[in-house]
């Protein structure tokens, strides 16, 4: 289903090539279905030694000694490398990370979570490496550990002796060397003047909690690395090949040109395979041991590599007598685990939307990133925003109910519109919250009364809206080669991990050049070949890489027109590119692309090349208010509405209808957009109902797929409607923006609001397990 544009920006003139807006098949569809698409671990490699690490059994401890005698005696074990040994060679460069340089690829002196790599066993064959890793004896001196985010905010024990911000972000420099704290970053937003609540106003307040969760892409992480003369080569399951090249170059003190990072099509990722995962260890071992190594982890180990941030939010919201939201307050604590990873960025970029997509006179947000002795938390589809949305969309719902108002109507009155300035100071454009809300409520026939049985099964409806800013500033580049036979090869470093970027980038290039489906091949990211791209993450690729691709393809079209103009002997303004080739509007002379390039080069098989860069800019937050007139390049807007039943005997939720909408600017490929909307919603449904990592004193207790529950086909609602809302963005490629995260953001509160509607209980801790629902029903009965 598609809802047409209502904003002033027109996408007219972009339909030239017949590619954009079409439901082209995924470029590798059949190879994917047959399992013939080659992923990183499928590549034929030179002979590699296998690496398995010995992992910490303590949440917080000093390493007193490591005895590898028994491990070395195992047949096939070649070497055992403790962290201290790598530290001796590499120095403090061993500490890496996108925001803080705090994480060593092998623990140095101290372990900070159960599962942290302590020593690497290098062996001929995975079995020998695994056996060796189990025989490395580590002598620990236990230190007091801290597991709870709110205890960690208060003080000791401290996970790190001092803060180590990386050199990448200037706005973190003031944190360098700060001691005696677990809070590694704090973002504060102050908008408007605090005032006493006006007469007749209504205020609601709650404590909210989202547990840590795991991404669980079905493809496990994999990295291989080897020396090629004086260069290091890496093949890895990574969303961020350009980042990894810089990080590994810094780690080993190599120039960028001496590090080659290749990615491969990913079997899902959702944020799990980015920044520093297995790459620093593989690179350090391959370089220092002068050997080719392969690191393949089990599912149990993958659970320890990164997680979604657990987050506590203390929130309140006030509406005046007329039903306008006049104040919002949020105190957010992100549990980033033992290493900051990109937590500080999440803390700011998600903290700033903690009061939601509403017009609010006065807002105050305090958002903190906090170390604890748990596996490091990093990026996860939604980048911290679902956790704050859980708070603001639950609060808004309670506020509407407290006023006796329909929750959808209350939101509609208060939502930001085109041109409105958000509490963070940046105006809205191409972010149709009202359109998304109206679309999902219309799809659910919200105004019509529903049957509300009074027995064991109770029915209810809920709705929620979400807002997220796209990561800004970032950079994308594209190089396009038009082959003499009118096929094209596109060089970008965007990684296709199931979102379909190889297909839609081909569509954007084909649009400019009037090429047919199947004619544009996207080259898999390889830093020796494909140009720099900040990251494939945060729903940024369609807009950023898409713009770079469009500019490169438009430049190619201009080149073709110039060549044709010379051939035809007419001005360039008289030449048009069509699906049949180039034509002179003056003389009607024509030349196909193959004829034109053959004539131009005098040879078959030639290529014509064009290139482009695309960058976005921001204005940093004001130091005292946290506000900025240009905090982001654009906004994502989405909504979800659910109808469900609650079994009051078992506490089980059955979702009957799920309606989801996202304003994508313009859908380059509506079929792929609908799959992203639906896929993110099903992942969000897991977060709403059962998905969580459970820790006991820092030890994960459900870190296998026997114990960790994921949405299966049985969890799919009876009816799911993805709705594409299109308000073209003035600078998007053909008006387009991204979509990968849009519907995971409002999903959990939409479900909780429907449970509230069905059985009258407000649950503030995710997930909404049967036990939680039954407990809440029992408490309701008691009161």
């Amino acid at each position: 289903m598609t809802v047409d544009s209502h904003s002033g920006v027109s996408a007219a003139g972009s339909d030239r090539g017949g590619a954009v807006g079409e439901r082209w098949a995924r470029v590798d569809a059949r190879a994917k279905v047959r399992g013939e698409l080659r992923h990183a671990a499928d590549e034929a490699l030179r002979s590699c030694l296998d690496v398995v690490v010995t992992r910490s059994t303590r949440p917080h401890a000093a390493i007193e000694g490591i005895d590898a005698t028994r491990a070395r005696a195992i047949d096939g074990v070649v070497d055992v490398v403790p962290g201290a040994e790598l530290h001796e060679i590499l120095g403090d460069a061993i500490f890496t990370g996108p925001a803080f340089a705090d994480q060593p690829c092998l623990a140095v002196g101290k372990v900070r979570y159960v599962g942290e790599p302590v020593a690497a066993v290098i062996a001929r064959g995975h079995a020998a490496a695994r056996a060796g890793a189990e025989e490395v004896a580590v002598d620990y001196r236990e230190l007091d550990a801290i597991h709870d985010v709110d205890a960690a905010v208060l003080g000791a024990p401290y996970v790190h002796d001092e803060l180590r911000p990386s050199v990448v972000f200037g706005d973190l420099a003031h944190l360098h060397g700060i001691r005696d704290t677990n809070v590694n970053y704090e973002y504060v937003l102050r908008h408007g003047e605090p005032a006493a609540p006006p007469p007749g106003s209504t205020t609601v307040s709650h404590e909210f909690w989202c547990p840590p969760t795991h991404h669980v892409p079905i493809e496990l992480p994999f990295t291989a690395a080897w020396r090629d003369g004086d260069r290091l080569e890496i093949l890895s399951t990574t969303q961020t090949p350009s980042y990894v090249r810089q990080s590994v170059a810094d780690l080993l003190g190599l120039p960028l040109g001496k590090v080659r990072v290749r990615s491969a099509p990913l079997g899902g990722s959702f944020g799990a395979k980015m920044y520093d995962r297995l790459e620093p260890l593989a690179a350090a071992l391959a370089w220092t041991r002068r050997t080719a190594v392969r690191v393949a982890v089990t599912r149990e180990e993958a659970f320890l590599l990164t997680t979604r941030h657990g987050a506590a939010v203390t929130g309140s919201m006030t509406a005046d007598a007329d039903g306008n939201i006049v104040a919002a307050d949020a105190d957010v604590r992100y549990d980033t685990g033992a290493y900051a990873d990109v937590g500080p960025r999440i803390t700011a970029k998600s903290g700033m939307v903690a009061s939601g997509p509403y017009k609010i006179a006065q807002a105050h947000v305090r958002s903190r990133c906090v170390y604890t002795n748990k596996p490091s938390a990093g990026p996860f589809r939604g980048f911290g925003v679902p956790q704050v949305t859980w708070s603001h969309e639950s609060l808004v719902d309670e506020l509407a109910r407290a006023r006796g108002e329909d929750p959808a109507a209350f939101r509609r009155r208060n939502l930001l519109r085109e041109g409105d300035v958000s509490v963070v100071g940046t105006p809205m454009h191409s972010a149709d919250f009202v359109g998304c809300l109206d679309a999902v409520t219309a799809a659910l026939d919200w105004e019509a009364p529903i049957e509300r049985p009074t027995g064991r099964y109770r029915r209810g409806r809920g709705v929620a809206v979400g807002i997220k800013a796209v990561l800004t500033p970032t950079i994308s580049n594209a190089v396009l080669q038009l082959n003499q036979d009118a096929s094209a090869t596109l060089l970008i470093s965007t990684v296709d991990m199931g979102q379909g970027s190889d297909t839609i980038m081909a569509q954007i290039a084909a649009e400019s050049l009037c090429l047919p489906e199947g004619s544009v091949r996207v080259v898999t990211a390889d830093t020796d070949v494909t140009p720099y791209d900040t990251i494939t993450a945060g729903s940024r690729s369609t807009y950023h890489s898409g713009n770079a691709v469009r500019k490169a393809a438009d430049a190619m079209r201009d080149k073709l027109i110039d060549i044709a103009a010379a051939r035809f002997g007419v001005p360039a303004t008289d030449v048009k590119l069509t699906g049949d080739g180039l034509v002179s509007t003056q003389t009607q002379e024509t030349a196909s692309i193959p004829e034109l390039l053959h004539g131009h080069f005098g040879a078959r098989g030639t290529t014509l090349t064009s290139e482009s860069e695309f960058r976005t800019q921001w204005q940093p937050y004001d130091k005292t208010t946290g506000r900025s007139p240009q905090v982001t390049e654009h906004w994502f807007a989405g909504a979800a509405a659910a109808q469900l039943t609650v079994d009051t005997m078992t506490g089980r939720v059955h979702v009957e209808h799920l309606e989801i909408a996202g304003d994508v600017g313009r859908a380059i490929n509506p079929a792929l957009v609908e799959q992203q909307l639906t896929g993110a919603a099903i992942m969000g449904l897991g977060h709403a109902l059962f998905d969580q990592m459970v820790f006991d004193e820092g030890q994960i207790v459900n870190g296998t797929l026997l114990d960790y529950q994921l949405p299966s086909i049985h969890d799919v609602p009876d009816k799911v409607t993805p709705i594409v809302v299109e308000n073209p963005h003035r600078t998007g490629p053909h008006g387009a923006k991204g979509v990968g995260e849009t519907t995971i953001i409002p999903l959990a509160p939409a479900i909780a609001n429907a449970v509230r509607d069905a059985v009258g209980v407000r649950i503030t801790r995710l997930p909404l397990t049967s036990e939680r629902i039954l407990d809440a029903l029992a408490a309701q009965e008691d009161s």
């Binding site: 279905v33 399992g35 892409p217 079905i218 991990m497 079929a671 799959q675 919603a681 949405p711 799919v716």
Partner: protein, 158 residues
């Protein structure tokens, strides 16, 4: 070590395997990239193969026990395999990593129960995880296979 004859996709593949060697690893070493480890505990279905037509989690199966058994992997299905083609037509893939397992589960189900209902399809696929959430397209693809085999009309892809 034991000498075994694997019959993979109709071809005899003689080999010597250890008692603990997993069918998953042996098949991958033979180049069958459609067989994948997702969990190692038989809980996700990414390693599914058919053994004499019945689905097996190859991450739990000892290769030595499959001497002489006919193994089918998704990459070895014939050209124009109807289940593969309906998955393609229904856009039943995103990252695609789990899809070969669903294709083989579909083959197993529809061989046993050509008229499988949506509920029966769901019941048969409950042990396979698609983390991208492509379940609706997968269900449609299998309904369309069943319909085509019966010469009924099929659902158009989105």
């Amino acid at each position: 070590m034991t000498d075994i004859d694997l019959q993979v996709n109709g071809a005899r593949r003689a080999g010597r395997v250890g008692d603990d060697d997993l069918l998953l690893d042996v098949l991958r070493e033979l180049g069958h990239t459609s067989v994948r480890e997702g969990c190692g505990v038989g809980a996700c279905g990414a390693c599914t193969v058919l053994a004499d037509g019945y689905s097996v989690s190859s991450c739990l199966a000892r290769a030595v026990r499959y001497d002489g058994v006919a193994i089918t992997t998704a990459d070895g299905l014939p050209e124009n395999d109807d289940v593969v083609e309906e998955f393609v037509a229904a856009r039943a893939m995103q990252c695609g990593y789990c899809i070969p397992g669903f294709v083989l589960m579909g083959h197993e189900l529809l061989a046993e129960n050509p008229d499988a209902t949506a509920a029966e399809i769901d019941a048969h696929l409950e042990g396979n995880i698609c983390r991208c959430g492509t379940y609706l397209e997968i269900r449609t693809a299998l309904q369309n296979v069943a319909a085509r085999r019966r010469h009924d009309t099929v659902k158009e892809p989105a």
